[in-house]
Each structure stands twice: as structure tokens, then as C-alpha cells.
Amino acid sequence: MKLLALDIPDNPAELPSWLERELVGFRLGELVAELSAVSGGTGQRPSLREVLGGRLQATLDRGLGELPAETLKHLLLWPHLLLDLQERVFNEGGSYWERLGPASGPPAEAVERGRNRLETFLGAEKWLREPLPRVLALRRAARYFGPALVGLATAAAVLFMVSLSQHHGERPPTHVPSLDTAWGWNKPDAFSANAAAGPYLKTLADEAKEWFNKRPEDSIALARRLTEFRQGCAMLILSDHQPLSPADRQWLVNRCRLWARNVDRHLNALEAGVDWRQVRTDADETVEKLIEALRQRALAVEGKAVRAELAPLA
């Protein structure tokens, strides 16, 4: 792991151009973290406007060369201001900034993956706007909204069961899926109330991994598998996740909404005629990413718990 901050140029005259290239680069967050660890300022954090004063517009037009050395020092001393400045530059920066090559760009594969996902999305959107005879349109609409309906129906069923059990003063029962669909988050015991937060999130990641246990080999099997996964997302969104803190619960639900949306997109793509192998690859990628996100969160949650335990000893 290379430390970025230590590459600060020896010659002060080169500081503005070095900082500019980092400012538009992919690793600014890392640089900010390093500067904060070493030389962060103390006291009330000033705003960008306070630090740059009347020079903000000139900076947006012509770069950091416009700033006196003392102002640059302030930016290094309050490195979070660099992120504020980056946002202003990306939003409002003039052609000077547009021409500037970054110190580090995003991985080319990330840009390409994003392009492919956007293309798939636009392909599905096009399919949806095609004029159709009314009956066929209704059939297509039913197919299009199928995954959403599955989610809604599941949600409705869960809510109904919850309200029923609350009426009778019982604990909400879990849904009872058929054997075929009882995998991943659809399992009756998918959401354990007794685990600690970290292991709970790891279990969710492991359950998501069950997606890979069965490899659909045609479009219909893939549609079924995706629908089941989508149903699991609905369960995840609607469950109360007792082991988690409110912030982690909120994170999980927000996150799952995004995953559910992606699964819907994969189904749309499949129904729009995109090759099932491609859709399966895209879906695999979605699942891999959500597993990674859950594991990362589990690690962060566990790290936080350990730090809280150690705090009194420090």
C-alpha cells in the first residue's frame, strides 16, 4: 500500500499542480485520510468559503495556482476541505480543470462495467416503450411487473401475518415457503433474532451466497431463480433485524432496496430478450457485490464493537 501524502513535492512551487491532480483523482479520499492522520488541524473546522475567501471563483476558473501558499497550507491542515473543493470543481470547474489529468483514475473495468450496466438498462427501457396491441401490452405489463408484484404480494402476506399475530398477541410467524423456494433469505430461519450484529450480517451474506448453489441453464429457470431471490429481498426489507442497531438496520434496508431494484432490472433484461447467459453473469455480479457489502459492513460493525470494548482500557 503506497502512502500518497508523502509524495508531497519538495519544491513548494510544485505543490499546487500536485494537489490539483490529486483533487480530480480517484484516491483523494485516501489522501485526505492520510493528511488527517498526520497533520489535521484542531478546533472548529472552517468552511471552504472562509478559507478561500474571494478566491473561490478564480480557483474554479484557473486552478490552485491562484492561491497564496498560506491558503494551500490551510487546505492541507483541514484536508476534508479538499473533498468540498473537489465537489465544487466537479460541479462548476472551468475548462482548466476539465483538461487536467488526474493523479489516479478509476479502474478502467469499473467504467466499462458501468457502461455495460447502463446499456442493459437502456435496452430494457426501450423494450418497455414499444407500442403493442392492448392485450399483448397487458401481458407484457404483467410480466414486467411480475417481480414487483411478487415483492408486493410477499409484503402484503407478511404484513397480514404480522397484524394477525399482533392481534392475537403472538410473535410474528415467519412465512412458510415451499421447499423449492426455501433458500437464501426465503428460509424460515433466515433472520435469527439471537445473533450479534456482526455474525448476523455475515449470515445474511452466506445466505445470499446460496444463489450460486443452483445454476439456471435457460431463461425460464433463470427468471424463476431471480424471482425467488427478489422475494428474499422483500423478506429482508420487511423484517425487523433485531440484532442490528437502528443505523445498521436502516443501512441494510436501504441497501436491499437497491439490490431489489437491480434484480428487477435483470428480470426486465431477461424479458426484453437479452441473452440469459449475459443476464446470469450480471445477476452473479449483483449478488457478489451485495455479499461483499454485507461482509464489509459486518467487519465494520465488529470493529466498532471491539473498539467500544477497548475504549475504557485506553
Binding site: 508523502l6 508531497i8 468552511s47 473537489q86 466537479f90 469499473a110 438498462f121 436501504n254
Partner: protein
């Protein structure tokens, strides 16, 4: 995706207008799709850089995808002309907040609406580790070395440092480069 646009340069707002007219005909749709691809090529690298500094690494690509989908879905209702880039980053900023994964909620700036997920600032593990490792390694340096590193990273020149710490300029330079090597090796060792 960019194939159906003539090879003339369009500014963002012209491309945005093409997208706004997408429902007029099949041809308009294809132009809109190409325009969207061109906007993607133009803005995706910096948008990814923007997200990389603000959300967890494992979330960057998902949020990036969600931004472009939202851009398309909200056209033409959401974008009424004007500054496309500003609109794009507004969406990016809101999505980053909505997902509740901002690393540093306090970085949003003083005029921002309240972040509903604002609890304790949440650094990613990756950067937390980086910061902790660097702090720990800094403690292992000699006092002069550590002071020079802190001063250099606060933007002080060797002349300023030498005058303040009562060192020769040459000595300040050597101390920094010596410390740089030691810190790099130490962090490497700590983080594997």
C-alpha cells in the same frame, strides 16, 4: 451506445436536450441513447472519483449505476435545461446520502439538509486502518523526524521547517526522506 450521433461535438446541454426528446420517435430514442452514452463517457470517470471519496468502496459501483438510471428516469421531467453537470452531481450527492453510507456526514458542508442516517461519522474500514497504521508508525519515528513529517504535510517548506526547528535545511530534507522510507515500510508491514 454512442454510435448513432454524428461526430460533431455536443455540449452537455445539447446532449441533454436530445435525451429530453426521446419519446418523439424511434430515431429520437436511438439518438437519446447515444447521447446518454456520450454523457456517460464524459462524466463517469470523475463521478466515480467523486463517489470514491465519499462512500464505501464496495458501494461505489452500485451507487454509480443508480445515478445513471435516475438521470435517465428523471428526464425530461427532472431536468429542465440549464447546468447538466450541476444536476448530475446533485443526484450523486443525494444518492450518497440516501444510501446512508457517507463516510463523513460532516463533510456535506454547512448548508446541507440534515442527513437522516447521521450517527457517528463512519470511516470505511479500509481508511480507518490506513489512518490507524499511519498514526502508529508515526509514533515510532524520532521526535525530529515526526515533527518534520507533520510540518511537510502541513505544507511548510524546508526553509520554514529548518528555521522553526533550528535545523539546517539539508538536515530537514534528509530527515523527511528518511522518515518517508521508514513510514512507508512500517505501514506496509502493519497492513501486510
Amino acid at each position: 451506445m454512442e454510435g448513432t450521433l454524428a461526430e460533431v461535438s455536443h455540449d452537455d446541454e445539447q446532449l441533454a436536450n436530445l435525451i429530453a426528446r426521446r419519446d418523439r420517435s424511434d430515431q429520437a430514442w436511438e439518438k437519446a441513447r447515444a447521447a446518454c452514452g456520450r454523457l456517460y463517457s464524459r462524466h463517469a470517470p470523475r463521478l466515480l472519483a467523486f463517489l470514491a471519496g465519499r462512500v464505501n468502496p464496495s458501494d461505489v459501483e452500485d451507487i454509480h449505476q443508480a445515478i445513471w438510471q435516475r438521470v435517465w428516469e428523471r428526464w425530461p421531467r427532472g431536468f429542465e435545461g440549464g447546468h447538466f453537470r450541476g444536476w448530475l452531481y446533485q443526484i450523486a450527492r443525494h444518492l450518497a446520502i440516501d444510501q446512508g453510507r457517507k463516510k463523513r456526514p460532516q463533510l456535506l458542508g454547512e448548508s446541507e439538509p440534515c442527513d437522516p442516517h447521521k450517527g457517528e461519522p463512519e470511516e470505511t474500514l479500509h481508511e480507518e486502518e490506513r489512518m490507524a497504521a499511519l498514526r502508529r508508525c508515526l509514533e515510532q519515528l524520532g521526535p525530529d523526524e515526526a515533527a518534520v513529517v507533520r510540518a511537510r504535510l502541513a505544507g511548510e517548506s524546508y526553509e520554514e521547517i529548518a528555521a522553526r526547528l533550528g535545523l539546517e535545511v539539508e538536515r530537514a530534507y534528509r530527515l523527511f526522506h528518511q522518515a518517508k522510507e521508514r513510514l512507508q515500510a512500517c505501514v506496509q508491514r502493519v497492513l501486510g
